[in-house]
């Protein structure tokens, strides 16, 4: 369900890390647009700026120059607090190492963004259970992350990322810590959610098999986008979208 409405627009983003002794130009004027309902992958060699770009687009990191506009609103014009609140209500995150709260159960992890967004606790619990059901983990709701497998943990992370009904989900190497079977399952799940719920995904990955399952592959090298490759949506999944 890809539309032509841009959800994320990056304009000439520059990001430099300067420790005093070392200066690294991580992003050197990146322009990028992601449309609503699109699932795109950023690929490239290590150190090319993929994660930095994702962090800058999601507002997790500040940019030195340029602008990031999400749903028509410039992140640069938001205060830290506004950016934080925006993330709570409109974004979801999936990380390579899951980054679940080890002290919370699966359902508690999933409902946390809702509680942060001040959703009623009972409503939050209901939605969290729904989200877990959606990723096939309804029966593991009360388990803590340590009691789940890698694939299950990443499913919990995905459930957490979509529980607040976000406009976009940012995924940084979501399959990086998984075996190939689990990796395929996770990508398929994201794709399914993308198609069925119209969720936009921007995925940073090294894995070409992950990239192939997206609508577009954006290749980066040395802090700039060097190539964008539009892919055909697999037929079976396209059918789901209808």
């Amino acid at each position: 369900m890809v539309t032509s409405t841009p959800i994320v627009e990056a304009r000439s983003i520059v990001k430099t890390y300067d420790t005093g002794a070392v200066r690294v130009e991580a992003l050197r004027g990146v322009d990028l647009t992601l449309v609503r309902g699109e699932m795109a992958a950023i690929m490239g060699p290590s150190g090319c700026g993929k994660t930095t770009l994702l962090n800058c687009l999601s507002g997790l990191d500040a940019i030195d120059d340029g602008d990031v506009v999400i749903e028509g609103t410039s992140l640069g014009q938001m205060s830290d607090r506004e950016r934080t609140d925006y993330r709570a209500r409109h974004m979801g995150f999936v990380f390579q190492f899951y980054n679940l709260m080890p002290v919370l159960s699966a359902v508690e992890n999933v409902e946390l963004p809702l509680l942060v967004a001040r959703v009623n606790a009972r409503v939050a619990r209901g939605k969290a259970l729904e989200a877990l059901d959606l990723v096939g983990l309804a029966d593991r709701a009360e388990h803590v992350p340590d009691a789940l497998s890698g694939g299950e943990r990443q499913r919990v992370t995905i459930a957490r990322s979509l529980v607040n009904d976000p406009a976009i989900v940012w995924a940084d190497e979501p399959t990086g810590d998984l075996d190939s079977e689990n990796a395929q399952e996770i990508v398929s799940l994201m794709r399914e959610l993308n198609l069925s719920r119209g969720l936009s995904f921007l995925i940073v990955t090294h894995d070409i098999s992950v990239g192939r399952k997206t609508d577009r592959i954006i290749r980066m090298l040395d802090g700039v986008v060097v190539e964008e490759l539009q892919l055909e949506v697999p037929h079976v999944l396209a059918g789901h979208a209808a």
């Binding site: 607090r81 934080t84 990380f95 963004p113 509680l115």
Partner: protein
């Protein structure tokens, strides 16, 4: 010599030095074998200065508390020594009539009939001792007298008249005039005197003024020649100085003296060391004259050291919970340090470092922290003691120059070294244990910083449980009637059952909860419940310490294994506040998961809060019990004392004569005599020991309502006993301090070696009358008394001794028992304070010093309150340990949870929310400890009060909780705990999410 834990400090120092020598010797050997491990360990010490500072702070707290206790003891010892030195100067011994200078406790009264003896004895003494032993021997008249200054209309009822032979004053302290020049008593013409500074200040007198002294009650007009400074007038307070010949004229004893002062060869400790030799050499001479020698300075120093030791024991006892908390903190710090380094330690193990090497490396690092921390802690302890001294000075009335005891800060290097040594050794042991614990890791998980996989160590559980049960059984079997080992044994047995319960598959939660509840409930049972099972038991402070520690362990187990219920309750209660829900969830989730950290910190806080509440409640209740004029004053409104030589045999008649119409303001006048004697319990074979008797006149016996704490068989209440004393000669009542007790809550400062045994003062059971024999050393006369009652513990110190009827004592010791202590009631509407002042004015010539009981009680309560607050403050020092633990945990949490903080920021936690999570987390621990510790403390306090009420002495005891003091302490501590967490919380909130998420 001051003592700690009953061991002289010198001995303790040697033991500690040996212990340190062995410990550091072993470390040195290991260091020579593996110098690289020393480098690695010590390099970590300097790697992060802030972290090092925090660790040193944590490690030093135990040492600080020990040092503060020891230095406080030093201060008290020094203060009493200084007071003695001011009173005695260079005088080391005094030769007097037998029993003349024996101490009579309290501030009232004096023995009468003290014998004069010929001045020629001094020559014999000097010849007997020779120049090798003494610097000087001088005849003196030392007697209490009133002073009055007509110009200023000021009076001082109890000054000291010191008269010495000017020709023999060499070797004694100099008399220094107002111009700084030395003065001699020989410079004084007849009718002139020196005043010391205290006397001049009290009277507002200056050179040239006339003052009136009242030697033996007769006025003597003396012109003040100068205001001088003189150590050795037998008082640290007001004194008037005269030549001996002048005083002999005033007393009408031209060839006699009351004493011979001796200054030993040299000065200070060297001179005091000669006292035994002096005493021995004088025996034949003194026996011939029926005199005795008192080793005044040696005795004063011994008393000072005993008092110092008592203060040390007092503060170390009350500080023991804080020290225990401090040890827990040291353990916690090293466990956290190890957790921080787990990854690198895992890698070290992976590349071939042995477990032993890790233990050594950690111990080397710990030893470096340890040495610095113990040194800083000892110095800081001295500073804490300095602060406490200010408070003590207030408690002992230093603002009142006349109060006698001027608390003066002092410390000995010995104390600081003992504190340092104890701190170093204690910390080193904990460090070595922590290091061993750290070295047991699974390398694969350590490298990846993953949690240690659970391993069921069946053999270890069996061994632990088995050893625990064996020790518990041993303690219980050998306990006898001692409560401490019994309670420890029972608690240990319950604790030791936990490993077995886990072995057979009982869930941890159930095992720990049941065991924890079992310990708390058993140790909180009323005392009577324990005694109904185990028979009568005896308690002391160690019972409190042991049961306190075990109760806290039990309570903490229950909390940490059931804290999810707390979370559920908190969420149900506060989770509806939408803004709070995510904060509460995160703030409680971490403490719940990290049971060891949370439990340890909770234990530290709870331990101190618990003791603080128990201590404050019980002391507050007993203090309130003393705030009872009737109990303290025995039904009288005013009490007064006079000098022995100006005693008033029939005060009622004299009062009617001197006060005329105002005499009706005093409807009851009662009198007491007091006499220093030797006493022993018949039938025990024990020797005579110095003590004192009081003769209570019939007015006193028929009006007093001083309560008794124990009665002989056949007597039902206090009034019956007092009436029996009046009706039947030879009966007596004794104070509760010299009677054997089942429970020992004293601090080893006993008034006398004289003891009454055969029953317990605190049993509340009737006893068979106890026969004792009393000897007046001066006259050699003896009498037998039968003890039929024991004074209540609430009675004032001024009633201590063996009390019989005045008629009994005057018949036994004629001429020795003139009444010098008087009690009065006042008529309705008469102000007791004004009535007391009127008495002093009317009987100034007798040196009568009177105080209303209300004022005595108020002063005593005020002093007690200040002292209690001091103790509370000292115990609250332990809360600093808890605060430090929270600071350490929070600082560690920021590092540990860096990535999770990144996620929280990513999913919408604002900076302020991150801060709030950290602050709430600390609040959870601090507030839980405050609530649980307070509840447990109140419960134990209530038990103590209920148990005490069973003794007749305390049958009216009511529980009083100093809520205000406690609330203030807790609010301050909670605020400081939050402050300790604030810096890490702010650091956490400033973590950039993108940066944090890069960490694996």
């Amino acid at each position: 010599m001051n003592e700690l834990f009953g061991i002289p400090l010198d001995t303790l120092l040697v033991v500690l030095a040996a212990g340190l020598g062995v410990a550091f010797g072993i470390l040195a050997l290991l260091a020579i074998r593996n110098p690289v491990l020393v480098r690695l360990g010590v390099r970590n010490f300097g790697r992060r200065r802030a972290r090092t500072g925090l660790i040193v702070l944590g490690l030093m707290l135990g040492t600080t508390i020990v040092a503060a206790a020891l230095v406080t003891g030093d201060t008290m010892s020094h203060t009493i020594r200084t007071t003695a030195t001011a009173a005695l100067g260079e005088s080391d011994e005094a030769v007097t009539a037998k029993g003349a200078v024996d101490d009579i406790p309290g501030e009232l009264g004096d023995a009468s009939g003290i014998r004069w003896f010929p001045a020629t004895v001094a020559g014999e003494i000097e010849s007997a001792l020779g120049p090798d032993l003494v610097d000087g021997v001088v005849n003196v008249i030392v007697d209490s007298t009133a002073l009055q200054a007509p110009r200023t209309s000021q009076g001082e009822p109890s000054a000291m008249l010191f008269a010495a032979d000017p020709a023999e004053m060499d070797g004694f302290s100099p008399i220094v005039g107002s111009d700084g020049e030395e003065r001699s008593l020989a410079d004084l013409p007849s009718g002139e005197a020196y005043l010391n500074r205290d006397a001049a200040e009290e009277l507002g007198a200056r050179p040239g003024d006339t003052v009136i002294a009242f030697p033996a009650g007769n006025p003597a007009y003396l012109k003040v020649r100068d205001v001088v400074q003189f150590n050795g007038a037998a008082t640290a307070d007001a004194a008037v100085l005269l030549p001996l010949a002048e005083a002999q004229i005033l007393y009408g004893r031209f060839d006699d003296v009351l004493g011979v002062m001796i200054s030993n060869k040299g000065s200070g400790d060297g001179a005091v060391a000669l006292s035994d030799a002096v005493e021995q050499k004088l025996q034949p001479t003194l026996a011939a004259h029926e005199l005795e020698v008192q080793t005044l300075k040696q005795d004063a120093i011994e008393l000072a050291d005993e008092a110092g030791s008592a203060f040390m024991a007092f503060f170390t006892t009350f500080g023991s919970f804080s020290i225990a908390a401090g040890i827990l903190l040291i353990f916690l710090i090293f466990v956290m340090l190890a957790a921080e380094r787990r990854g690198e330690l895992g890698i070290a193990r992976a590349i071939g470092t042995r477990r032993g090497h890790l233990t050594e490396m950690f111990t080397f690092e710990g030893a470096a922290y340890d040495l610095v921390a113990a040194a800083v802690g000892a110095i800081l302890g001295a500073m804490v003691a300095y602060g406490m001294v200010f408070l003590m000075a207030r408690a002992f009335g230093a603002e009142d120059e006349d109060a006698g005891l001027q608390v003066e800060f002092a410390f000995t290097w010995q104390s600081l070294l003992v504190a340092f040594g104890l701190g170093v050794l204690l910390t080193l042991v904990v460090v070595a244990f922590s290091a061993w614990r750290v070295s047991t890791m699974t390398i694969a998980t350590a490298i990846r910083n993953l949690p240690e996989p659970p391993v069921v160590r069946r053999r270890r559980r069996v061994v632990l449980g088995g050893v625990g049960l064996a020790v518990a059984a041993l303690l219980m079997v050998t306990a006898g009637t001692a409560a401490t080992p019994l309670m420890l044994g029972v608690s240990l047995a319950i604790v030791s059952l936990v490993p077995f319960a886990r072995l057979v598959g009982i869930p941890d939660r159930v095992a720990y909860t049941v065991a924890g509840l079992g310990i708390v409930i058993l140790l909180m049972l009323p005392w009577s419940a324990w005694e109904s099972v185990f028979g009568q038991l005896s308690m002391n402070f160690s019972t409190w310490i042991v049961s306190g520690l075990m109760i806290v362990v039990g309570a903490v187990w229950v909390i940490v294994y059931n804290a999810d219920l707390l979370l559920g309750a908190a969420m149900a209660l506060l989770g509806r506040v939408k803004a709070l829900a995510p904060l509460l969830r995160m703030a409680m989730a971490y403490p719940l998961r990290s049971r060891f950290r949370t439990g340890t910190t909770l234990a530290m806080f709870t331990l101190v809060v618990f003791t603080l509440v128990t201590g404050s409640t019980s002391t507050g209740s007993f203090q309130a019990a003393f705030n009872n004029i009737d109990a303290f004053g025995g039904g009288f409104d005013i009490r007064a004392g006079t000098g022995a030589r100006a005693a008033i045999p029939d005060l009622r008649a004299e009062l009617d004569y001197r006060l005329e119409k105002r005499a009706s303001d005093y409807p009851v006048v009662a009198s007491q005599s007091v006499l220093a004697v030797d006493a022993r319990q018949l039938g025990t074979g024990r020797p005579f020991e110095a003590y004192h008797v009081r003769g209570l006149d019939s007015s006193f016996l028929s009006h007093t309502n001083f309560q008794l704490g124990a009665f002989a068989r056949g007597y039902e209440d206090s009034q019956e006993v007092w009436a029996a004393l009046q009706e039947h000669p030879g009966l007596a009542v004794v104070d509760g301090l010299v009677v054997e007790r089942r429970d020992q809550f004293g601090f080893e400062v006993m008034p006398s070696e004289f003891k009454v045994t055969g029953f317990y003062a605190d049993d509340g059971k009737p006893f068979d009358p106890v026969p004792i024999e009393v000897l007046d050393k001066q006259s050699g006369k003896k009498t037998t008394l039968r003890i039929i009652g024991v004074l209540s513990d609430a009675a004032p110190f001024e009633m201590s001794g063996i009390s019989a009827s005045q008629s009994t004592l005057s018949a036994a010791f004629p001429g020795r028992t003139d009444p010098t202590i008087h009690y009065f009631t006042v008529a309705p509407g008469v102000d007791p304070d004004r009535a007391a002042a009127r008495l002093e004015a009317a009987f100034l010539s007798n040196g009568l010093e009177a105080e209303s009981i209300r004022k005595v009680v108020d002063d005593s309560i005020a002093a007690n309150r200040t002292f209690n607050r001091l103790i509370q403050g000292f115990m609250a020092l332990g809360l600093v340990v808890g605060v430090a633990a929270l600071g350490v945990i929070s600082a560690r949490a920021v590092v540990e949870r860096r990535q999770q903080i990144g996620v929280m920021r990513a999913i919408g936690f604002r900076r302020t929310m991150i801060q709030a999570v950290f602050l709430l987390e600390s609040s959870f621990v601090a507030l839980t400890a405050i609530v649980v510790g307070t509840a447990l403390g109140l419960l134990l306090g209530w038990n103590i009060i209920q148990d005490s009420r069973k003794a007749p002495s305390w049958s009216n005891l009511e529980m009083v909780v100093p809520w205000g003091d406690l609330a203030l302490i807790f609010v301050v501590v909670y605020a400081v705990a939050l402050l300790a967490t604030l810096a890490p919380a702010i650091r956490a909130s400033r973590i950039q999410p993108a940066e944090a998420l890069r960490y694996e």
